[in-house]
């Protein structure tokens, strides 16, 4: 028998579909969802993220008593920008209608603080305090939208050790002339109002004025309170131990001496003094706060701070990111599934089937990355969207004060967590493609992302190395979960362990994206070059 060469070639009865990237996506998605273990893995990642967050909340407890036996019940106060703020001072004021200005001369700024952070339960509130002015104690001139806490303001003030500053609406700060003052070298301060625009000046002699800055306080009413103020932030002692950190804080005081007070414009006749943020006249802690006038000299003693709240290790307040403390655990699970999504194919030789079905290898990698990225994004999104309100509810139930953040920040933290999951998954997938082994790829991703995060955030390492780790390693991406804001004009421990990352949220995520892009590129080259 000889072979027939006249056979009619076979014609396929199957309609030939258009070849496209969407088909590869569809194929990879079907591949993912038909392995129950992988779907279960993503659900587990979700559960672990929420569960570790809940465990963290359940393991914490708070017992809190304020000075003089008052409870430290936290009433969130928000400023004009929606941030949580403190607003405490002694304000000596007169109403001012329309445009005007206020000018003073400061001849002295002194203070008292409790060196061990403790304050006596009753009696003299200054008992045990020693002389010393807090670096960010402030005294100067102010224009404020009424005496209600949290209202808009602009102020020019002398500080304990940061020279003259112009500040407004709690979060804004500009530096004026540096240096301290004394009777022999006083400082002149001036604040003018022209419509919504407030301009701050300082001067060494009352003749030559230097402009510090301007503030636009939109919606400032025609009649405001203008006058003198004095404030001094709480003195905080943070002690660290193996089991964590505890902090003691106590109120401090600042006393400033003003003269040459010159209030111009349509102002009221009488000075009124208010202790803003105090417990009222009945509060024993307010004893000694207020002002004295002798001729043209005004001595104003105040306590409290006019500043945004910056939560940290020392503060009991819970932030959005503290609800997401379990994200690292969920991320480990996502890493395992994402790696397996490709290494399982290498292990069984299934990669050959994949590449015969889709010979364009770059597209195969892209389709896999899109599928695992999208699935991980959804996992992170669901996990964060459950963890944030649930953990916060548990913390609230236990009496923890909650740090308030603008809604947009909460949304960014939740979406950012989802993005963190997605990009990490893509990185793990790409590394799995490069190494073709699960164990090595999973270990590498965990060591690169989760380990530096834990070392930095759990305060295993000192602040310096922690900052470098969270700047250079892919763990920088955890910055996307930071809801707290760092302010130069507020003294606090701004370390990763306090929740402060060296990079901005999106810059941190960009670092991870950079690593992922590099590994994806390497994976694409190797996948194309290697025999399958």
């Amino acid at each position: 028998m000889t072979a027939t060469t006249t056979a009619t070639p076979y014609r396929s009865a199957q309609p030939v579909a258009r070849d496209g990237f969407l088909r590869q996506l569809h194929g990879e998605w079907t591949k993912f969802r038909t392995v129950r273990g992988w779907v279960a893995g993503m659900l587990t990642a979700c559960l672990v993220t929420v569960a570790v967050g809940l465990l963290g909340a359940a393991g914490n407890s708070i017992s809190c008593a304020g000075p003089h036996g008052s409870s430290c019940h936290h009433t969130a106060l928000t400023g004009p920008g929606g941030e949580e703020v403190r607003d405490g001072m002694t304000l000596v004021h007169r109403p001012l209608t329309g445009d005007g200005s206020i000018t003073v001369r400061v001849t002295s700024l002194a203070g008292l603080y409790p060196p061990d952070g403790r304050v006596p339960a009753d009696g003299d509130p200054t008992a045990g305090m020693v002389p010393g002015v807090q670096p960010w104690a402030k005294a100067g001139v102010i224009v404020k939208d009424g005496t209600k806490q949290g209202s808009a303001y602009a102020a020019v003030a002398l500080t304990g050790s940061h020279g003259v500053r112009m500040q407004y609406d709690y979060t804004h700060d500009a530096a004026g002339t540096p240096g301290a003052v004394s009777a022999s070298s006083p400082r002149w301060l001036r604040l003018t109002r022209a419509g919504d625009t407030l301009t701050g000046y300082d001067s060494a002699d009352g003749t030559h004025w230097h402009t510090i800055g301007t503030a636009h306080l939109a919606g400032l009413p025609a009649t405001v309170q203008a006058g003198l103020f004095s404030s001094s932030p709480e003195y905080l002692v943070t002690s660290k131990s193996l089991s964590g950190s505890s902090s003691n804080g106590g109120p401090s005081r600042a006393t400033a001496v003003f003269d040459s007070v010159d209030l111009r414009g349509a102002a009221g006749a009488r000075w009124t003094s208010d202790v803003i943020g105090g417990g009222g006249p009945a509060d024993p802690g307010a004893a000694g706060l207020g002002y004295r006038q002798q001729g043209g000299t005004y001595t104003v003693t105040g306590s409290g701070d006019i500043a945004p709240v910056v939560p940290g290790r020392g503060s009991p307040a819970k932030t959005v990111e503290s609800s997401l403390i379990g994200a690292f655990a969920g991320l480990v699970v996502v890493t395992v599934v994402a790696t397996m999504f490709v290494t399982a194919e290498y292990r069984r030789g299934l990669i050959r089937t994949t590449l015969t079905a889709s010979p364009r290898r770059g597209r195969v990698l892209a389709a896999k990355a899109v599928v695992i990225g999208a699935v991980s994004f959804a996992t992170g999104l669901v996990a964060a969207a459950i963890a944030v309100p649930l953990v916060a509810a548990v913390e609230k139930g236990k009496g923890f004060p909650m740090h308030r953040t603008p809604f947009a920040t909460d949304v960014r933290v939740v979406l950012g967590t989802a993005a963190l999951f997605a990009v990490t998954a893509v990185l793990a997938l790409a590394l799995g493609t490069v190494l073709r082994r699960s164990a090595g790829a999973v270990t590498a991703v965990v060591v690169a992302i989760v380990l530096p995060y834990i070392l930095a955030v759990a305060a295993v390492l000192p602040a310096g190395p922690s900052r470098w780790l969270t700047r250079l390693t892919p763990a920088a991406a955890f910055a996307v979960q930071q809801s707290v804001h760092q302010y130069a004009q507020v003294a606090a421990g701004y370390t990763p362990a306090d929740g402060y990352f060296p990079l901005s949220p999106w810059a941190g995520l960009a670092v991870l994206c950079g690593y992922a892009a590099a590994v994806v590129a390497a994976a694409a080259v190797l996948l194309r070059r290697r025999d399958a």
Partner: protein
């Protein structure tokens, strides 16, 4: 698209070993082409190069005139079964076929068709990890037929199949070829391809040793030998050897004679009064023909070391 596979002058080295050394052959539609050779002869490597999985150092492998990488929705052009064990154990057989189908724009209905065709039946819902090798081969066949391709490439499809499965596989391959498809089937055992392949490409050490029809191969190996059955073996051997023939005993009652034709054998034995019951031209088995061809090409003789 012309349903042919044209392999020309493929060369590929792994280190100092030449896996492919000028491999050249053509697979035409409408028949089963057996691709045989001992283990390590380069069969699998050639198939991987045809499928675009491995790259050759030199030479080309074209399907209907195109490189595999140039095919769009390749499973509609070429169906292949390389390694039946290449499965995600925790994915069901149906799930495996479904992702393949979706990657080609094929429907779930087509999956059900090939499940039926390959005789997987209800097992399709089970996890592929629990499948016997025979069941995996059936799943591999289903995957290869998913796109209803005019070209089929199968590496050792009989491996691990029970006798019933082998009969099924032979019938299936024959009917696929009869439909006008080009079918390339590799095996390291010629016996598996006996009665299945119509054309053979015999390879050894990375190159083609014989590219021939099965009939021609057997004829060439048979030569002009005569098979004789007799109860008086010793007597017959003496008579025939005296007449100048080369005689070999191939069994207790059978002899193979070469050098003289069957008529002369009959007359010599008749004259010498040697009884015999059967006499005829010798027909070599495919296995014999193959052994003869590949004797030099077997790289790993039994007991040999590399």
């Amino acid at each position: 698209m012309e349903a042919t596979i044209e392999v020309s002058d493929l060369r590929k080295r792994f280190g100092s070993t030449a896996a492919l050394d000028g491999m050249t052959f053509t697979v035409t539609p409408g028949r089963i082409t057996g691709f045989v050779g001992p283990n390590g002869a380069g069969k699998s490597t050639t198939m991987r190069v045809i499928l675009g999985l491995d790259s050759a150092d030199e030479g080309t492998a074209l399907i209907g005139g195109l490189r595999y990488q140039a095919l769009r929705n390749p499973l509609s052009h070429v169906g292949s079964l390389l390694d039946a064990g290449a499965l995600q154990p925790s994915r069901s057989a149906r799930g495996h076929l479904l992702w393949l189908a979706h990657s080609q724009g094929l429907s779930a209905r087509r999956v059900d068709e090939v499940v039926e065709y390959a005789g997987l039946g209800t097992a399709a819902r089970r996890k592929a990890g629990g499948f016997s090798l025979g069941m995996r081969q059936r799943l591999g066949i289903a995957a290869a037929l998913l796109g209803d391709p005019p070209v089929l490439i199968m590496d050792e499809p009989f491996n691990g199949m029970d006798p019933e499965g082998i009969v099924w596989m032979r019938g299936l391959l024959r009917s696929l070829a009869a439909e006008g498809r080009a079918v390339l089937v590799s095996s390291h055992l010629m016996s598996e391809l006996q009665d299945t392949a119509q054309h053979l490409v015999v390879v050894g050490r990375g190159r083609v040793i014989a590219d021939t029809s099965v009939a021609d191969l057997i004829a060439a190996a048979s030569g002009d030998r005569v098979t004789l059955r007799t109860t008086a073996r010793a007597q017959a051997m003496t008579v025939l050897a005296r007449a100048g023939a080369v005689v070999a005993a191939t069994g207790s009652e059978t002899l193979t004679v070469s050098g003289i034709d069957s008529q002369r054998v009959a007359s010599l034995l008749g004259r010498a009064d040697v009884p015999f019951s059967e006499i005829g031209a010798h027909r070599a088995t495919l296995e014999e023909a193959y052994m003869e061809l590949t004797r030099d090409a077997v790289e790993f003789q039994s007991g040999g070391t590399r």
